[in-house]
């Protein structure tokens, strides 16, 4: 994994950590909204292309949120 990918995964994990206190549906929606609002097209695409997101082995909140993250 590239340094950039590692960093994006860390950032996504931090976002998930914040919204984890909320009900699951709210958390999933909020994570996706946050990423869509603040991340560039390229960052989102890189995130969506991460193996652990694609194969669903990442944090379940992130995997679920990724479905609502816009492709570039």
């Amino acid at each position: 994994m590239s340094a950039q990918s590692t960093k994006l995964m860390t950032m996504a994990g931090q976002i998930a950590d914040f919204f984890r206190a909320y009900p699951q549906d709210v958390a999933i929606r909020s994570i996706a909204e946050h990423i869509n609002k603040f991340w560039t097209r390229k960052m989102r695409d890189t995130f969506l292309d991460l193996p652990e997101i694609r194969n669903g082995t990442s944090d379940p909140l992130l995997v679920a949120a990724a479905k609502s993250v816009r492709k570039g």
Partner: protein
């Protein structure tokens, strides 16, 4: 009547004593003229309001009346004797006479005594023409001194010249106490005193020199001195100024107004402007005295270019430099794509300059890759307060603190970083308000003369959210919530969720103690005080925002304020103390990559339509890169060109070696600055910047107050920065045609709802205006969220404590936190080029005696400070200001390189760096670090300027 802001020499009216605030008025007659004044106002001030100036020496309206000089005597019908008008309150029906033969005789007698012990060197005195003693001698008609001048006197007193900026000449002192009172009442430092008794009474900075004393060189004593006893060395050197212009300080976010007092285009003195709403006549050592950098020999005033960063710089014309920058950006975009370039706007620059740079990015680069240094300071404030309150700014004006009963200062060190506000804060504390300090260090506010915090919650670095949740737990579980306020003003469901969340046992002070290190009983007591002590205000700084949970902390603060009903009136609120002079403004102006001016997202079609219509260009609806993302992509090879306006990211941003790797990987870095700063070592085009004295525009301070910045000298580089941005955009194929920065503000007003009513004419008429300023609030908005939150209902957010990944361990057992000190400012580009170095000429590492002893470190030892990011060496200072396990340093000196040590960790929501928590090790050393040695070499090799080509004589 407001004096003209560009008069020959502005002299504000001095009423002698403060005009009291009272709803009740009294009417009295002074010299046959009836005048009505607020109850409690002195006869002296009432006379001034009626147009009569009573002679005075020990009185000035920034200080409480003192009644010592006996010059302001008046006659009052029905009263015996001749009372001092300064200490006599005006009363209903009072009949006062200020000019009688008897009074004249008394006043002349007083002046005779003063003058008998005063050097008669008026013609060669530096205060000639600006001396109240001289004025009063004239006013009372002094023609003779019966006692002669040969008696005992103080003429031989030795001058104290130790302060780099002002001189103390005891021979000229009339012991009016104004300086001592200014130090106490205005500044709150209590450095000065009167030593001796009777004839032996003398002003002294304690048993030491001014420089060696507690004096913070704010200049309040100099400002208050009626003679040449305390006077600026610049006035001694150059003489009295002949005209003055009101402008705004370019240091911290307090945004003090100053009179730039000039001789032609030479600045002689910066005098704090009494009608400046942010500072009301006060100042600090930086704004008052540290302006010499503006004409420092290091200023680069000619544009320069070079092919590679290892080449020597070559001076070129403006046209050539701008053409080079434009062609390089275009080449890069053609080759690597539209999104391969971007810009960083500066919080040191005006709103107008910042607005143009972000416009350049969006309209000429055609992407949204623009960011600002708020990324590394208060970006979490913007996010946190917009989520909870609906707007990205503080809620109060500064004078609101005068009405506070309880003040919580968290993660801020106002006496060092926002000193003029700190003086106002300390004044309120001396009047009885209670103080809670939450800070890992024992900052000055915890215990200083006549100020003592009721609670110092000395938490561990990184535990802000744990502490705030614990405070909230107490408020909720002990029934201290302001139910009526919450019911009326806040979203009920969100509040209910939040209340359930913070009430959980895991958030109790007892449970959180393991994270915070703060005894639970102290947390409980502080929470009760905050919730029940009356008007409670929160002031916070970068100790809140610069954490991995910076945004969470801001929201937790907002939660506390809402839960206790402390938003929406005087004396309360949530108040971010902004770091730089225009960090509020640079955010307002659309410097963030996801939003336009006024904090509207780039994906909002209606907003984008408005901008596209006025700007005549299609705009991108996708967020752009933040600064750290730009650097990451540069290292990876995708981001190739950067325009840096007045910032020095190679020194200020975290993980220096990552920053410089990113810069070095770019093909075109354009730096616009006063100096060849650290970032310029990696630049290919240098565009000379303009100091605040050369600027024309506006700054917006931490109160959302828009102040005018007025040019007092021509730009040394020949162009204003807004002109340079315009010309660069034009060269990029997007013509910008402005004749005056006022036109830019008019465009900002057209495009930004909160600025709709802002214009230079309005600011000039009002002095300043606080946004929102629009149809709903034509005169601006000092207090926000009065009847309702901007977003409607206040929104409580759940703020789970998530410990930072940066932990102390075996390799790096200590936690480093960084900050600022009073005499230096941020990266020190300005203050290091002034005599402020007399107080702080190197960054030092504060370390607790326990940790120092464990490592065999003594004060003054060179120590190596190492983290997983890098290593530097600096001198140690052993102090118990820091707690065991915590070390602290500043980042003011480029040669130290404090940010070599800080890491890439950042806030979850905004990527604001976690400067405040870095796991480190400290050990004794006898050498500089490898980075420091390499940096010293690069200071030379990457900063070479080619000798100008010789032009053969014709």
């Amino acid at each position: 009547m407001r004096p003209s802001v560009a008069a020959n020499l502005i002299n504000e009216v001095d009423f002698g004593t403060p005009i009291r605030a009272s709803a009740d008025e009294v009417t009295l007659t002074i010299d046959g003229v009836a005048v009505s004044v607020p109850k409690g106002t002195s006869v002296m001030a009432a006379a001034m309001m009626a147009g009569t100036q009573i002679p005075k020496l020990c009185a000035t309206d920034s200080l409480e009346p003192f009644g010592s000089c006996r010059l302001c005597l008046v006659e009052i019908e029905g009263r015996k004797g001749a009372p001092a008008s300064c200490t006599t309150p005006a009363e209903q029906g009072m009949v006062v006479r200020t000019q009688t033969d008897r009074l004249a005789k008394l006043r002349r007698g007083v002046m005779e005594l003063y003058i008998s012990d005063h050097p008669l060197d008026c013609l060669t005195c530096a205060a000639n023409g600006d001396c109240e003693l001289q004025d009063m001698a004239g006013a009372v008609g002094l023609r003779d001194v019966r006692y002669g001048y040969a008696g005992e006197n103080h003429f031989d007193g030795a001058k104290d010249e130790t302060n780099p900026y002002f001189s103390y000449d005891p021979a000229k002192c009339i012991v009016c106490n104004r300086c001592v009172r200014a130090c106490e009442e205005t500044q709150g430092t209590f450095a000065l005193t009167i030593t001796g008794r009777g004839f032996g009474s003398r002003v002294a900075p304690g048993p030491t020199s001014f420089l060696g004393s507690e004096c913070v060189s704010c200049g309040a004593c100099v400002q208050a001195c009626p003679t040449a006893t305390l006077i600026e060395k610049s006035v001694i050197a150059h003489g009295q100024p002949e005209h003055s212009v009101v402008t705004t300080c370019a240091y911290c976010g307090v945004g003090c107004s100053f009179k730039a007092e000039m001789q032609g285009d030479r600045l002689v003195r910066m005098a704090p402007y009494k009608d400046g709403a942010a500072n009301e006549g006060h100042s600090c050592v930086k704004g008052r005295f540290a302006w010499g950098y503006a004409t420092h020999r290091d200023r680069i005033t000619k544009p320069m270019i070079r092919e590679k960063i290892t080449d020597a710089w070559r001076e070129v014309s403006w046209d050539e430099a701008i053409a080079r920058a434009a062609s390089e950006f275009r080449r890069i975009q053609t080759k690597y794509g539209r999104e391969s370039v971007g810009a960083i706007t500066s919080s040191r620059c005006t709103n107008e300059e910042v607005f143009l740079v972000q416009k350049l990015v969006r309209a000429a680069f055609k992407n949204n890759n623009v960011d600002t240094c708020a990324r590394v300071c208060h970006a979490p404030t913007g996010y946190g307060l917009s989520q909870t309150f609906g707007t990205s700014a503080g809620t109060q004006d500064f004078k609101s603190v005068d009405k506070s009963d309880v003040i919580l200062v968290i993660g801020a060190n106002p006496t060092d970083a926002h000193p003029v506000f700190a003086s106002r804060l300390k004044k309120r504390l001396r009047a009885g308000a209670k103080l809670i300090v939450a800070d890992p260090r024992r900052i000055e506010l915890v215990r200083s003369p006549h100020v003592r915090a009721a609670h110092h919650l000395q938490l561990k670095p990184g535990a802000n959210v744990a502490l705030l949740n614990a405070l909230a737990h107490v408020i909720v579980t002990e029934g201290l919530v302001n139910e009526a306020y919450v019911r009326e003003r806040c979203d009920a469901d969100d509040f209910a969720s939040w209340a359930r969340f913070v009430a959980q046992e895991k958030n109790s002070p007892e449970s959180m103690e393991q994270h915070t290190g703060v005894p639970a009983a102290d947390v409980r007591a502080a929470a009760r005080l905050y919730a029940t002590g009356g008007n409670a205000a929160i002031y916070y700084g970068l100790g809140v925002t610069e954490h991995s949970q910076g945004s969470t902390t801001v929201m937790a603060i907002a939660n506390l304020a809402m839960a206790t009903g402390n938003v929406g009136r005087d004396g309360v609120g949530v108040n971010p103390l902004r770091g730089q002079n225009n960090v509020q403004g640079s955010c307002d102006m659309g410097s963030f990559p996801h939003e336009f001016s006024g904090y509207r997202h780039v994906s909002d079609d209606a907003t984008r339509d408005m901008f596209e219509s006025l700007w005549g260009v299609k705009l991108d609806n996708e967020p752009g890169l933040r600064i750290p993302n730009m650097l990451d992509e540069a290292v990876e090879g995708a981001f190739k060109g950067l325009y840096v306006q007045g910032e020095d990211i190679a020194q200020s941003d975290p993980d220096t070696q990552h920053v410089t790797a990113g810069l070095a990987a770019m093909q075109c870095v354009v730096v616009q600055d006063l100096f060849l700063n650290e970032t310029a070592k990696y630049a290919h085009v240098f565009l000379p910047g303009a100091s605040f004295l050369e600027k024309d525009g506006t700054f917006t301070n931490a109160e959302r107050r828009i102040n005018r910045v007025r040019r007092v000298m021509q730009p040394l580089g020949g162009k204003a920065e807004w002109q340079v941005a315009s010309e660069l955009a034009t060269a990029l194929g997007y013509p910008m045609r402005y004749e005056h920065p006022g036109e830019i503000m008019d465009e900002i007003a057209r495009l930004t709802p909160g600025f709709k009513g802002v214009s230079y004419a309005k600011i000039d008429a009002m002095g300043s205006v606080q946004w929102p300023c629009n149809d709903a609030a034509p005169n601006g908005t000092p207090l926000m969220h009065i009847d309702r939150f901007v977003r409607g209902k206040g929104r409580f957010m759940l703020t789970e404590y998530v410990p930072t990944a940066e932990r102390a361990g075996a390799l790096f057992p200590l936690l480093l936190t960084t900050g600022r000190i009073l005499s230096q400012y941020n990266v020190g580009a300005q203050t290091r080029r002034t005599d402020n170095n007399a107080w702080h000429d190197e960054d030092v590492l504060e370390i607790h005696p326990f940790d120092a002893e464990h490592r065999g470190v003594r004060s003054g030892d060179l120590v190596a400070l190492a983290s997983r990011s890098g290593e530097i060496s600096l001198r140690a200072e052993i102090t118990d200001r820091v707690q065991p396990g915590v070390v602290y340093t500043t980042f003011h000196h480029a040669v130290t390189g404090a940010n070599v040590v800080t890491t890439e960790n950042s806030d979850w929501a905004t990527n604001c760096p976690e400067y405040k928590v870095t796991a480190v090790q400290v050990r004794r050393t006898n050498q500089h670090s490898l980075w420091q040695e390499r940096n010293a070499l690069e200071d030379v090799s990457l900063r070479r300027i080619a000798a100008a080509e010789l032009v053969p004589a014709k």
